[in-house]
Every structure is written in C-alpha cells, then in structure tokens.
Symmetry: C2
DNA sequence: GTCTATAGGCAGATAGAC
DNA sequence: GTCTATCTGCCTATAGAC
C-alpha cells in the first residue's frame, strides 16, 4: 500500500499477520484468539478489529499471504534450479524452514481444522494444495522426460505422494523427532522417486 | 466394568466416548465442547462431569480407547493375513474405514493440535505413532525377508513413509477428493514399496 | 446418575471518545 | 489508529438437591 503514514518498519496490519500466522501454525486456528495477538503487539483487541473486521477475515488474509509467498518461492526455484531433483530438494527446504520454527505448514494445520473453518478459508486451503500439486506434477513430468525421476507412476500420482508425504511427516515429526526426523524422511521419500 | 447397573445397550460413559471421538475426529479437540456432547446425548453438561472429571480426562480416555482398538485390529491382521503386502492392504483399510465417515485419524488430528494438548494427551499421541511404526517396521522386515517388498530402504524408513504418507493423504483428502483420492494415493504408495 | 443453578473466565465483536 | 468500556454468548467446572 505505502499510502498514508511515513511507512514504519512494519505497520500493525502486517505485524498482526506475522503474529497470527505463527500462532495458527503452532496452535491452530481454533487455538488462538485476538487477545493473544493483542498481547504480543501490546495493543488492544479493539485496535485489531480496525485492521481486520473479524477472525474470519484475518484468517483469509493469512492464507492469501502464505499462498502468495509460497508461489514466489516456487517461481524462484524454477529460475534457480535446473534439474527436477534439485527442484524437489529445494521444495523440501521450504518445509524444513517452517519446521525449524516448530511450526506446521499453515495450510496443513488448517486442513486438520477444515470442518470448522469459514467457507472462504476452506476453499483457499484446498486451492493451496491444488497449486502445489500442479507445480509438483510439472516438475515430475520434467524429471521423467529427462530420465532422472522414476517412471513407475504418473507425474500426478508422484506429486500427490510428495505433497501428502511431506505434510504427514511434518505432522508427526512435531510430536517426536522434529527437524532431523523430517529431513531423514523427506530424503527417503525423494530417493524412492528418483530413477 | 459391568459392575453396578443391569448393563444397558451402551452406558453413558461409553456413549460419551463415541460422540466425543467423532467430534474430535471431525472438528478437533479445540473445536468441540461438553455442550456439544450433552446436546447429542440429551443430558446436561453437569452429568458429563460425573463420568469424566474434565475435558482433559475425557481426551485421555479417547486416545486410550482408540489406541487399544487399533492394537486389536493389528493383532487381527497378524492372525488373518499371511504375506506382508496383504497386511499392508489390511492396514490401509483401517484408515479407509475412518475416512468413510468423513473423519480424520484421531491421533492425526490431535497431532496437529499437539502444542495445545494437556501433556498426558500429547504423550499418548506420540506413543500411538511409535506403536504403529513398530508394527509397520516388523511387517516390512518380514516382507523384505520374503522378497515381496522393496529392499531399497530400511524397514524403519519404509514404516515412517507409510505412516506419514497415510496420515498426510487423509489430511489433504478431507479438503478435496475424499475417500476415492485417499484410496488411489494409498495404492500408489504401497505399489512404490512393493518389489 | 442426572438434574438445576451458578460461578468465573474468555471468546469475538461493537460504540464512541480521543 | 488506538483507546476505554461494554455486550452477549459460550466455555469449563462445581455445589448441592433429587
């Protein structure tokens, strides 16, 4: 925006998203409140309502930013990495960075709470997974064409296997094993799909 | 127990677990209340507190029953199925039955909410995954010895891949694709591990 | 074993002053 | 933009009658 005020290091709306994002990734959408955010930002709940009309609106903004950031990261990978396996390794690194903060993937967390989410949030979560699957499918098709990735399943099947494998591993690693466990499992997963 | 009263078809304590289990599997531990259960059973919240002192105690009972039932199912598989691949297919069928009711695995759901759970609940969830991994590791070792399962990774790695793959697929399938998607992904997963 | 009644707290949200 | 003050409703939980 950069419209009205003399641009602080991070305005309240953005810092609200930062705090809320972390809370959702660690505690879940039904596990945090406006009061939690207000306390961390040292403002009142009423002030938060100025920036986001309600929790549902905040939730949508959260997914929108997360998805946009993820899309940028994927574009960045497409620019920097050449072969398919390198792209997949970089893809795994995105998840590793999340888990390093003891966080769950935002959309993985919201997927668990899917039945309790406002409809627009649920739809945005589903789109996130679709977009990731599309990207992974393309990467896998590229890898198969180059002969570097296993041709024992379709690119679409492999994409689902990677996506759900990483989300599931994240989910379980948070209860035990943490980042080391996640990285070992991710390596096994990719190795199983490498020709 | 079967101690005091003339044993009804299902006493309140048991029916409470049935309702609470479904609510947790669909909405999560932080997404249901005593009021929800009371309404379904047509009793008051106060009556529920007679059977389970508080929500944390109910939560522990939930995991205990779920884990015990799961353990019985695994014993049953060990009796009925002969080769390793048949055991894994039967294992997947347990998950399919859960998803058929639009439910998430109880412990998969609780894993997402791990950071908000009372300590005893969190520990019980971690144990559930450990027990499953142990069983799967043994099945995989058996399959490798018989030459029916892929020897390209250790039994322990394969067990983690199956467990997290199924949990992750369940998580995502609930947002889109449902049971058909889960079953297709599970088949891909097992096929990838079959020699 | 189930009830009524109630406590005490926290949730999401709004009105209106500054 | 942020505040104080407040609302309404739901949450978990308890005391005590039946």
């Amino acid at each position: 925006m950069a419209s009205s005020s003399p641009r602080k290091s991070a305005d309240t709306a953005e810092r609200t998203l930062d705090v809320a994002e972390r809370l959702v990734q660690i505690r879940g959408y039904n596990g945090f409140s406006y009061a939690d955010i207000a306390a961390e930002l040292d403002i009142t709940k009423a002030s938060l309502h100025y920036h986001y009309r309600g929790k549902a609106e905040l939730g949508q903004a959260l997914i929108a930013r997360f998805s946009a950031r993820f899309a940028l990261a994927l574009e960045s990978i497409d620019r920097d990495a050449t072969d398919a396996r390198a792209k997949l390794d970089a893809y795994v690194n995105i998840y590793s960075a999340v888990l390093r903060g003891d966080r769950m993937c935002l959309c993985g967390m919201l997927a668990a709470e899917y039945e309790t989410l406002p409809k627009p949030m649920g739809e945005a979560v589903a789109r996130f997974f679709q977009d990731n699957e599309t990207w992974l499918t393309n990467v896998f098709a590229q890898g198969q064409a180059a002969g570097s990735l296993s041709a024992s399943m379709t690119p679409s099947q492999a994409a689902q296997m990677i996506l759900s494998g990483l989300e599931g591993t994240m989910l379980i690693a948070r209860t035990e094993g943490g980042l080391p466990r996640f990285q070992a499992s991710a390596r096994s997963l990719l190795d199983a799909l490498t020709a």
